[in-house]
């Protein structure tokens, strides 16, 4: 391997690593707030990418039907719950979000002819369709189990992952898609050609990480999420709604996931089931951070990206083996570090 190749692989690894880092952050966030190990994170990546691809191909994205259906289901549940408690007045905002909003999004997506729009607007509309699915998934699958053990939540997460992959196949079909890059530009640094999309990915990741930091450290809502992460009961006693916190965490995770999908789709072809492995690589990074530390999780994810890139050069058939075996020394290190007093849930 000469320097040229090494630097190229490094660039690839860094780009993918930045995406994994975003996903790792979302995973840490969801786990901290809701104790859900969010296996379906990757499906949002695929949904984001494929929704954008549908717009570009002048097709109505299947995510639209998913959004309408999920919103309808949530509304049904919420109205049912409100009827039982005889507090029908409280459902108005829920219906706004779960019925009116999807209907509006559907109208725009079908009538607005988005294929003619500039890329940035298409991206925004894709996010607008995918991101509300996050809180809906939380409401349908996880909220009724909010007090269950981590293990039960994890099994539910795996089930949700399978459901979303199945639905992905149903609404997008088996063909993969690529989307055009945000920027066609390409420039040289020294002897290395750097393409514009790489810069986009790195800058966008940094901006997102930065804004997450500001959100958690400087805003009341972010602090409320952190409080929920530390102590659910305590947070509830302070008037923080843990249900709301859960939905917000899932919303952020869906946003990060879908945006990562839009970022990565120009670099690699995305299929309906591509999200899983991408999400899991974020996981390996998140585990490096013990599912609690944001900076270590991000660093771990970048490491995963680099490892993947270099191992694809040396032993491309064993790329996945190498990446997922990395978890074993990491677990060993965690295991030797941990005190393990009584973590009974």
């Amino acid at each position: 391997m000469d320097l040229q190749v090494a630097l190229l692989l490094g660039q690839d690894g860094l780009t993918n690593g930045a995406i994994y880092a975003l996903l790792a952050l979302a995973l840490v966030l969801v786990f901290a707030v809701t104790r859900v190990v969010f296996i379906p994170q990757g499906e949002f990546v695929a949904f984001g990418a494929l929704t954008l691809a549908s717009f570009q191909a002048d097709k109505t994205p299947g995510t639209l039907w998913l959004l309408l259906a999920a919103g309808g289901l949530v509304s049904l549940f919420e109205v049912g719950a409100a009827l039982r408690r005889r507090k029908l007045g409280l459902v108005a905002p829920t219906l706004l979000w779960n019925l009116a909003y999807p209907a509006l999004a559907a109208a725009i997506a079908v009538l607005g002819h988005p294929v003619a729009w500039p890329l940035a607007f298409q991206v925004l509309l894709s996010l607008a369709l995918v991101v509300p699915l996050g809180p809906m998934v939380y409401r349908l699958a996880f909220q009724p189990l909010a007090e269950a053990s981590v293990l039960v939540l994890l099994i539910v997460a795996v089930a949700v992952h399978l459901v979303l992959v199945g639905l992905g196949l149903l609404i997008f079909g088996a063909e993969g898609s690529r989307t055009p890059p945000f920027s066609e530009a390409s420039f040289e640094i020294g002897s290395i050609a750097v393409n514009g999309q790489t810069v986009w990915v790195l800058v966008a990741s940094l901006v997102l990480v930065g804004s997450l930091f500001v959100f958690f450290d400087r805003t009341l809502r972010g602090k409320a999420l952190r409080a929920t992460a530390l102590n659910r009961t305590g947070a509830r006693l302070m008037g923080i709604s843990t249900v709301k916190a859960g939905k917000q965490a899932f919303m952020l995770a869906a946003l990060i996931g879908a945006f990562s999908g839009v970022l990565i789709a120009p670099i690699t072809t995305i299929y309906y089931d591509s999200g899983f492995l991408i999400g899991l690589k974020g996981f390996v990074g998140a585990i490096v951070g013990g599912l609690t530390s944001y900076p270590i999780a991000a660093a771990g994810a970048v490491l995963v990206g680099l490892l993947e890139s270099y191992s694809s050069f040396w032993a491309s058939a064993f790329k996945e083996v190498i990446v997922f075996t990395l978890i074993i020394p990491v677990l060993l290190w965690r295991s030797l570090k941990s005190q393990d007093i009584d973590e009974h849930q």
Partner: protein, 596 residues
């Protein structure tokens, strides 16, 4: 008991007739159900019983299948492998050996970590092993290995699915029986105690790391055997059935069938396999395109079950066959003497200058206290004074920061809870730690863990019944001793909280302790129950047991104990006879506020 036996016999009879009357398609389906049930049995053992979860069992199935496929088909083997080649039976042993080694290594890496790391680890190795199977040339890559020889058992060639059927289901029934035996034993109780958290089990002398490893390796063995059978049934393998997706399916089966029940594995495997087959048949035609859409329905079903019916199908089925279980019979033997018998007044516990810091917080500071044989000492003080911390430090739950703890003359600080428990110190907990679904008798018998010697193999084969009877008799004697005899077979969770605390004392007594640490034993008891508890503690004192107790009920304490140690802000502020302590101005100030 009888009716359930009849149900079982009817089930076996039905199984025996099936291949004689059913068409080929259904026999094949039943074969796959049996193979899945075997793996799911391991998942039940892990998830429902031991509180661990694995998504990676399919990888162990793959180890079993590839071991035999490779060893029975390969030619030109290197010299060190050659002796193992050729025979499926030697290949089975080799596969079990390999699986055991892999499970031990993976278990060593992940079992010590808290709950969710293990399943995440299993996802990772599930993926790794799948890609490894698919990318190693000598394992045939993604095309796999064909030409695996026909298995023959006692001279009969199992060439057809119908012939193979009997082997599969005999293995399943034997495995179910072995696991049932194991769970109904001392080692099995130790495994079931894992669900109550490691703290209690360790304090009862259970090596929880070992118990976890046992279930993990056993589950891997079951998967490996299933893989071996699969390879010889199919006579062709490729990596697909050993991927993560299938590993997840085994967990689904356990949840659907009832993860806490051994028969849940069989029911779950059957329900899942049939449902999946059925969905695969008509979903694509309904949706107008082909694809594995059944996962949508199965996934939704699983979520709904976990939300609404987490117990699974087996408890519902079991109710159809009412189990008129006779109460366990045993003789309540004389209580065997404490080991060793200590003269009254012999020094048991000697804490010197114990200090415990949590970060910057000093929970115990310069604490010294003595407890002798045949003496009741109360550790009292306002809430947050550090009493429970002191208990946890003494009993080895937490390491102390400085100072020393001697128990019967031996330094025990730095030892773990388990080693200290085995030396004759036993305890109860401030927040009751019982296994609510297990009977009172079984809960108490966990305390007698250290009395038994029989290992896992003896437990699986039930060759340790004499020892088991002794343990249960001893446990029953302790229950009678604390006055809970009438609740012997009731689930522990059905007792009121006060009696659960008494149950914890019986469990602690089961360990044959010379020193008892009781954390608020009288909390939640009514007046008469408190009197009975006082009587019990006095009797124990007369037998020479030393007792250190934390208690808030001063009437109870003052009439009972020999000495009081008073704590405030982590320090000892007074010590002496109850009457002296009651008159001590520092104590009054601590309890009633400084302005006295």
């Amino acid at each position: 008991m009888m009716r359930r036996h009849l149900g079982f016999i009817a089930f076996v009879g039905l199984l025996g007739v099936c291949p004689l009357v059913l068409p080929e398609f259904y026999v094949t389906l039943l074969n796959y159900i049996g193979l899945s049930a075997l793996v799911t049995l391991g998942v039940v053992l892990l998830t429902g019983v031991g509180g661990l979860t694995s998504f990676g069992q399919a990888a162990f199935v793959g180890l079993g299948a590839y071991s035999t496929a490779f060893l029975t088909t390969a030619t030109d083997l290197p010299l060190w492998v050659a002796p193992f080649a050729g025979s499926p039976w030697i290949a089975l042993l080799a596969g079990l050996l390999l699986t055991g080694v892999v499970a031990l290594v993976l278990g060593f890496l992940t079992l010590r970590l808290s709950g969710h790391y293990l399943p995440l680890g299993t996802i990772a190795w599930g993926i790794s092993l799948y890609f490894l199977f698919g990318n190693l040339d000598f394992l045939g890559g993604f095309t796999g290995i064909s030409g695996i020889p026909v298995l023959s058992v006692v001279g009969i060639e199992l060439r057809s699915g119908r012939a193979f059927y009997y082997l599969i289901w005999i293995v399943v029934l034997v495995a179910v029986r072995v696991i049932q035996n194991l769970l109904d034993s001392r080692e099995g109780r130790a495994i079931r105690a894992l669900q109550g958290g490691t703290l209690m089990a360790e304090a009862m002398g259970v090596d929880t790391a070992r118990a976890k490893m046992i279930v993990f390796v056993l589950a891997a063995f079951l998967a490996c055997v299933s893989g071996w059978l699969y390879a010889h049934l199919q006579r062709f393998i490729n990596p697909t059935p050993f991927g993560l997706q299938v590993g997840i399916e085994y967990l689904f089966m356990a949840v659907i069938g009832g993860a806490a029940h051994v028969w849940g594995a069989v029911v779950g495997a059957a329900a899942f396999t049939i449902l999946k087959q059925w969905l695969q048949d008509w979903l694509p035609s309904l949706l107008g395109s082909s694809g594995s859409y059944e996962v949508i329905v199965l996934g939704v079903l699983l979520v709904v079950m976990l939300q609404r019916a987490r117990e699974g199908l087996w408890p519902v089925l079991a109710r159809l066959v009412p189990d008129t279980k006779q109460p366990i019979t045993f003789e309540v033997t004389e209580v065997s003497p404490r080991n060793p018998i200590l003269a009254l007044g012999t020094e048991l516990l000697d804490c010197r200058n114990v200090r415990k810091e949590f970060g910057g917080l000093v929970a115990n500071d310069d604490m010294s206290l003595l407890v002798g044989a045949g003496e009741i000492v109360a550790l009292i003080g306002p809430n947050g004074a550090g009493k429970s911390t002191m208990f946890n430090v003494v009993s080895g739950v937490w390491p102390l920061t400085s100072g020393e703890v001697r128990f019967r003359g031996e330094r025990v600080d730095g030892m773990g809870a388990r080693q200290i428990a085995r030396r004759g110190m036993s305890r109860s907990f401030q927040h009751v730690r019982l296994l609510p679904c297990m009977s009172v008798l079984e809960n108490v018998a966990i305390g007698a863990h250290g009395r038994g010697r029989a290992g896992v193999l003896a437990a699986c084969l039930h060759t340790e019944r004499r020892e088991e009877r002794e343990i249960l008799s001893f446990a029953a004697a302790q229950i009678e001793r604390v006055g809970l005899g009438e609740f012997m077979v009731a689930p522990a969770g059905s007792l009121p909280l006060g009696q659960q605390r008494i149950l914890e004392i019986a469990r602690a007594l089961c360990a044959n302790p010379s020193l008892l640490l009781l954390d608020e034993p009288a909390a939640g008891l009514r007046y008469l129950e408190k009197q009975a508890l006082g009587e019990l503690l006095r009797r124990l004192r007369e037998e020479g047991i030393g007792i250190l107790l934390v208690e808030h009920d001063m009437d109870f304490v003052m009439g009972l104990v020999d000495r009081c140690v008073v704590m405030e802000f982590g320090q000892k502020i007074a010590e002496g006879l109850p009457a002296e302590v009651q008159a001590n101005p520092a104590v009054l100030a601590a309890y009633l506020g400084g302005a006295l």
